[in-house]
Each structure stands twice: as C-alpha cells, then as structure tokens.
C-alpha cells in the first residue's frame, strides 16, 4: 500500500541516523544513565546500612519512589491524572495479606496474581472514566478510591474491616519476612530499580511514544493511527500492576494493613502524584527524586512536630503541594532541564 519512498531512489532504505543528529538517546546511553541513577540511589543504602532508623526511611523512600514511578506511567507519560491509585495499592495489599495470614501462602506466589487482578480492575474502572474530560477524570478516580475505602471497611469478614489484618512474624525468604532491616531495604531497592527500568524501556517503545502523543494531543494521536482508549488502558494496566506489587511489599514490610493506611488519599493516592510532581512529572528520574526529597523530610517533620502540633507535618506537606502546583509544575528535573536548555541556547546561538 505504501509506495512513497521518501528517500529518493525507489527501493532505497532510508539512511541510518546517527544518534547525535536525532537528539535521541542511544540505547547504550539510556542504559548507562539508568545504571548511574540506580547507583546514586543505592548510595544511601550502602552508606547507612548499619543505622536502623535511616534504613527504615531509606526502605520507604525506595518503596514510594517505585510507587510514584508506577503512577508516572499513566499520570506523567500518559497525562491521565489519576488520584485513585490507592485502589490498586489496596488490592495488592489485601490479596497478599489475606493469602498470607489466612491461608499461609507465600507472598511471592500471590504477588503476580494480585497485580494482575489490580490491572483487571484498573481497566474495568478506567474504560468508562477515560472519556471524562479534565478534572472529572481525577475526581472520578478519587470517588473510586473512596468506594474502595468504604467497601474495605464494610466487608469485614473478608478484609478484617476497620481492625485490619495482621501478619504474624515468621522470618524467612519464602515468607518475604526478614529479620534485618537492610534486607527489606534491598527488597525495596530492587522494586524501584525494576519500576524505573520498566519506565526507561517504556519511554523508548512504541507504547511509550503513543502515551506521550495521547497526552499532548488526542486528535493528533488519532490522526496518527493511534487508538487512544486502548493506549490509555494499556498504560493504566501496567501502572496498576506495578502499584499493586508495591502494595504487596508494603504489606510484608509493615505486616499490618487497615483501610486508612491504604486508602487515605492524603497519604497514598494523592501522595504518589505529589512525589512525581515535585520530582518532575513525565520524567524518568523525577518520581524517585521526589520521593528522596519528600519522604525523609516528612519523616523529619512528623518526628519533630507530632507531639507539639499534631498534623502539622501534613499541613506543611499541603503547603508544599500548593507551592509545587503554582511554581514547580515541571518539578525539580524539569527546572534543571529548563536551566540546561537556557545555558545551551545562550552558548550555541540557535
């Protein structure tokens, strides 16, 4: 069907483009950058491996970094501002907790099926909501989150209701329960490395480009042959899958879950988006950077202020959200990119 050969001579292959000319990263560069980023991220773990207080913060930072990166797939690349990712987080958490505490199954076994369930639920609830415009989509996702909260509280024979589910301590790799904090930190590191790695590959894939196109302009995307709804669903399914895995890890780390810890918007659903926003929505390193900036900071606030002024840590976080929305829409990574571009254009002319 396509007979236009736009390189000139009929049958000639288009000339191979050198990476320097295209402005795109070669696969090798992307790999090196990824390894560098992960090495940097691993540094705190290596340096503070003996300190249990810091190990806890580091483990949480990795976990939140992975969750924010998972959100970033659909929220950043795809531009679909979901604030209800707590639902998928919760599915991963509850399936894991029930399987482990009640049926003695290994969380490693349950992790993937739970994540697949989350993907399925994600596609089911997204299919009707993706055609909502602007803020209605975000508000609808928040509504789904609240429904999950209510259901989790209500079906207490299943979920333990408001009392939650506790997982007894039985150390062992098969149980995903470790004696040493540093082992958990390593587990979380593997998680974030996996999620970030997936986003690197995604960014260089057809689906990744299609997600970006859908984000930038849906009409233009359609004119380019893209099935917009299908692309959004795929991005959401992947995002939900990885978020649910984070839910599994969260459950096995704390060994206790209840509806508030999973479905409180401020701490979960909105937090994933906040971390990505502060670090840089739609970038590779942004979510992890956001986690690195916010999680320790929030911990510090909570420790300092919890007694004197309960809740002030959240108030300050709220202030940060307002400031980020007003002044830092592209996040830290975005600000750095803008700076680099300004310097380059001043140096190189055009």
């Amino acid at each position: 069907m396509n007979k236009t050969d736009l390189a000139g001579a009929p049958g000639a292959r288009p000339p191979v483009v050198r990476p320097e000319d295209s402005g795109l990263q070669s696969a090798g560069t992307a790999l090196w950058r990824y390894l560098g980023l992960m090495a940097l991220a691993a540094l705190p773990l290596l340096l503070l491996a003996k300190d249990p207080y810091w190990l806890n913060i580091i483990a949480f930072t990795y976990l939140m970094g992975g969750l924010a990166s998972a959100w970033n797939i659909i929220g950043g690349f795809g531009g679909q501002f979901s604030l209800g990712h707590g639902v998928f987080f919760g599915i991963g958490a509850y399936v894991t907790a029930i399987a482990t505490a009640r049926y003695g199954l290994s969380p490693w076994l349950v992790m993937v099926p739970a994540a697949l369930l989350a993907s399925l639920v994600a596609m089911l609830i997204s299919w009707p909501t993706f055609r909502l415009k602007g803020p209605f989509f975000a508000i609808a996702t928040m509504a789904f989150n609240e429904v999950a909260f209510v259901l989790a509280n209500h079906f207490d024979s299943f979920t333990g209701g408001p009392r939650g589910i506790m997982i007894p301590f039985k150390a062992g790799f098969a149980n995903m329960i470790f004696r040493e904090r540093w082992q958990y930190a390593v587990l979380m590191f593997v998680f974030v490395a996996l999620v970030v790695g997936i986003t690197v590959c995604l960014r260089r894939s057809r689906l990744g480009y299609y997600l970006l196109a859908v984000r930038e302009d849906e009409d233009a995307a359609r004119a380019s042959g893209i099935n917009v709804l299908s692309v959004k669903l795929q991005g959401m399914a992947l995002s939900a899958f990885l978020t649910a895995i984070g839910g599994t890890l969260f459950t096995m780390y704390l060994r206790f879950i209840d509806p508030p810890s999973l479905f409180t918007l401020q701490d979960v659903g909105v937090k994933f988006a906040l971390l990505s926003l502060i670090g840089g929505v739609g970038t590779i390193a942004g979510p992890l950077l956001g986690a690195a900036l916010i999680v320790p900071f929030e911990n510090f606030l909570r420790a300092e202020l919890a007694d004197a002024l309960p809740g002030m840590n959240l108030a300050i976080l709220g202030l940060l959200m307002v400031l980020a929305a007003l002044f830092m829409k592209r996040g830290v990574v975005g600000a750095v990119e803008d700076l680099v571009r300004k310097i380059r254009s001043r140096r190189g002319g055009r």
């Binding site: 000339p15 191979v16 295209s22 480009y209 970006l212 004119a223 042959g225």
Partner: protein
Amino acid sequence: MAQALLQTRGASKHFMGLKAVDDVSLAVHKGEVVSIIGPNGAGKTTYFNLLTGQLEPTLGEVSLRGQNINRLAPQQRARLGMGRTFQIVKPLIALSALENVMVGAFLQHRRMADARDRAMAVLQRVGLGAHAKRRAGDLTLSERRRLEVARALALGPEIVLLDEVMAGLNQSETGRCIDLLRSLHQEDGLTFLIIEHNLKVVRAFSERVIVLDRGRLIAEGSADEILSSPEVVKAYLGEGHQWTPS
C-alpha cells in the same frame, strides 16, 4: 474507469434541522489533487470531518478504495492510508520534531530505531532535517505546518487531506509550501484533497476544484474553469471576496 481512491456518494450531515452538508458526491482518484473551496460556513470543514471520521454522515456514504468507511474511527482511517493535517496545527509540543514524526512512523515501524530512521528521512524530505532535535513548541508556524505534513507522511499514506495548510503563512512561506506539496505529488505520487481559502494556492497546485456553498456542491471543474465561473464569483461575492482571474 478506475475505482476512485476516496469517494463520497450523497454525503450529508444534518444538525438538528440544519443541513451543514447536503448531498455531496465527489470522487478523488489516485494521483489527483483536488481542492475544496467555498465561502465561510459553506460546510467545508464539516465535509472534511466526514472524510476523516470525526463525524459520521447522516445520509450517504464515504468510501475508501470502494469500501464503505462510514463507521470507521479516525485512527482506523489513518491506518488504511489516510493522512491528514488540522486547520489549527496540533504539534506534540513537549516532543522534539523528530519524535513528533516518529509517532506517525511507528504505525509501520514497530521498533524505535526503524521509526527514528524513517522519521528522519521524512523530516529531511519536508526540509526540516536541521530542526530534528528542536522542541516542537519552539518551531515557527510555517515549520509546525511542515511538521504536521511530515507526521502525516510518516504514516505512509496514499492520500493526504490538508485543511487550510497555508493559513497564517506569509507569501514566501506559502510559495515554499506549494513547492513541497508539488514535489510530494509529482515525485512521490501522493494524492491530495485540500481545503483552501487562498485561491492563488488553488490555482498553483490543484488539478480539480469543487465549490461548496451552504452545504451543497455547486460547481466542479478544473481550476481555470472554476475560478472564472460567474456562479462561483456570486457565491463568494456575498462575502465580499473579490479577485480578478489572472
């Protein structure tokens, strides 16, 4: 008579009693350049949207290579070989020019490296090779229009639908754009269906012209015939359009 590439038979679009498009039949054959002209509100854009799939016809049929495509969505038509540009140009702002075109190229090239190579070739073809790395948001209007043509070309289409692709361009930019389109038509054998307000462009580039007025097709013929027809002048005169057939 060879089968038409893109055809409408009695295509109509009614909006609550208003006949925006009324019984328009048109056949575009492979390798042709057909222009649609008409005063504002004539229904050109609505007709265009029937062709691209943004709207479904109330009556009549739109067909591609003989097959009825009334119910096909825009992305399906793109996959079947229909490229299009937009009246208000829609670049993917945060992406580079090259990445913009890659989005189109991915249709036929699944691997990133292949899509990249193909996109680069297309960019060079439209004269934007030097701008590959630049962010689409930083391009001028003329560059953005060429970028959008490139993105459509990267699909490997058989027919390209252009919606007022010259709008907003100055004289020299318009001239360069006409040269590009001519070259794409003559060297690459692309079929074109364009909406155009600029009659100089119509004269320079089109083989056949159809005139819409108040939703109906009121005239059809060669560029010379149409542009000197008194009926057409009358349709435009209500708008205050004046031109001398030169």
